[in-house]
Symmetry: C2
Subunit: 350 residues, 2 copies
Amino acid sequence: MTTKNATIKDVAREAKVSVASVSRVLNGTGGVTPATQKIVREVAARLHYVPDNAARSLITGRTNTIGAVLPDLYGEFFSELIRGIDLAARARGLHLLVSSSHDGVEDAAAAVRAMRGRVDGMLILSEYVDADFLGNNLPDNLPVVLLDSPVKSARYPVFNIDNRAGAIAMVRHLVESGRERVAFIAGPKTNFDAQQRDKGYRAAMAKHAPDAQLTIVAGDFSEESGYRAGRELLAQKKRPQAVFAANDMMAVGCLYAFKEAGLDVPKDIAVAGFDDILIARYVTPPLSTVQVRIADLGRIALERLAALLDPADTTPASVQTLGCEIVIRETCGASAGATAPRKRRRTPNT
Amino acid sequence: MTTKNATIKDVAREAKVSVASVSRVLNGTGGVTPATQKIVREVAARLHYVPDNAARSLITGRTNTIGAVLPDLYGEFFSELIRGIDLAARARGLHLLVSSSHDGVEDAAAAVRAMRGRVDGMLILSEYVDADFLGNNLPDNLPVVLLDSPVKSARYPVFNIDNRAGAIAMVRHLVESGRERVAFIAGPKTNFDAQQRDKGYRAAMAKHAPDAQLTIVAGDFSEESGYRAGRELLAQKKRPQAVFAANDMMAVGCLYAFKEAGLDVPKDIAVAGFDDILIARYVTPPLSTVQVRIADLGRIALERLAALLDPADTTPASVQTLGCEIVIRETCGASAGATAPRKRRRTPNT
DNA sequence: GGCCGCAATGTAAACGTTTTCATGAAACGT
DNA sequence: ACGTTTCATGAAAACGTTTACATTGCGGCC
């Protein structure tokens, strides 16, 4: 058994047919007698023959693989995203090549280039990627779908989360529940989601609480930064009535700061986050947040990409936005209890 | 720019050299005049030339890609595992092809076979995989590293978590803290980790609480099943003094059942889990658990696989076991407070 | 019976690289 | 000045497939 791997030629020789016939049988191309088919299959099975994908890709120009370029694999966001992508890919018989953790535009470029000839299409989520970047680093006929990106191009479909609408809905809820002074804990400056959520916050405040002063403190999406932001807010002369954090981890950190200071959430101050990560449900009190169906985002993006793989596809590229849903839990004053109906409001898709 | 992608021939023609020289320059094989190098590089850059990986793989027999076969991508365990793998792979310039969600041995076999010619080696974590399976579905010269597997073979290195020692350490701690009657919530019967944790529980009870009666209720690693198990335990005539769940999600579910029943954890009953997932820290009270350094497991396994990729490697295959560490938090009676030093006990590696 | 058409099969080119080997030129030692 | 070594370069084979095209054989039809 320490023999070399069987090739199509070995099968052909052993079955006393030509390689073409073997290929035809194994690919189901048709035009082969049932009798020959049987022989070929038997021999192939006996030799444990499996076609070499490199050779096949070379000639067909297809790899049946799609590449996913992500900034990192850390945290629930990416794990859910990749899960959605993987599930959808698998359903279509596509393989998934992941490439993550690039810090810097050069690094990202290398990662993208390294996929040449390895994938039929790419799903890209990276703050370093814009239209120029793609034009310079990718063959121009390679299907690409962008995630969470400000790029507006007729060439690349984009799928975004409706961060703005989600933020607006949450701020509106907070104000309507009687809390005019809503503070905001911002995310990283270069993060597209964070920017959109920031904009949403400002827009909602302008509309629903025009008289309240804006309070925005910096954060970087980490729990630690949320904790610091919480302490900073406590130190202010006029404490806000509610805090809206640009993501859940910061909201959790903020919650700890308030708890530490002896505040009663939500009575003294309300807290809300964004993402609806798993732990949002488990902190005490359970965290109100904006739910993003991340796995769905991955699935939808992959489905679009899969459609693009067919050269006959002519759907024009467009920017699509995925609605989110606010989930009101106890940090905003929802009644306690696991069975309490949660208030939800969904922002529409597209 | 809607031209066909440049090949090495295009570069050669344009640079007025042979394809061999282009190849040599771009691979840094040496034996090329600095002058020619310069020209080639310039032309390559101008044409946006990127070598086709399929062709390269075909001739070199290497793909610089490793495959990761996992049962699912859901939950923190797998996301951490894949993250550890990815990081280590990236550090070695290896790409990562993931394949997940197979339910059934045939499905897994297809997944494994489909990787033929796509990867240089594989990392496999699957309950369906044993030595026979691998022998039947893989070329016998393909490097493979197994994760979390009962397989003992001179052919395949295996990396396991020391579930047994971890379970023993936790049960011992519970008993030593004055709780003799420790109940166990078991995991899925077919899951290797779950089996080992079960064994550890029994061994520890036999040793440290030989007089206590064993109480084992079934579970399936889901929060829901933990909740049901918790209610089942409450219904028993003689309530246990502590509950050790085979994973954290079940422990959390169990915690809810107890909370719902008005019990005081840890005063009335102690609870412990296994895995140390993120939410263990965030539930109230914070959950005692056995910490598994999952990302490390992925990293170490990949490093071993990478070593195997070098045909000169002669290290014999062995089964290695990664120690875990018990983390005592409030569900076992540790003092509250974020800054309280957490009691930890580490079981040794290997 | 010869011819046509069709289905099954085979032959060989092509895919884009790497790499072995041959070639020729330059550098070197005597 | 001449043989020998070294070095840059090029030509061509090889990798394992798919597929366009050629060939074969055979039955049916006139």
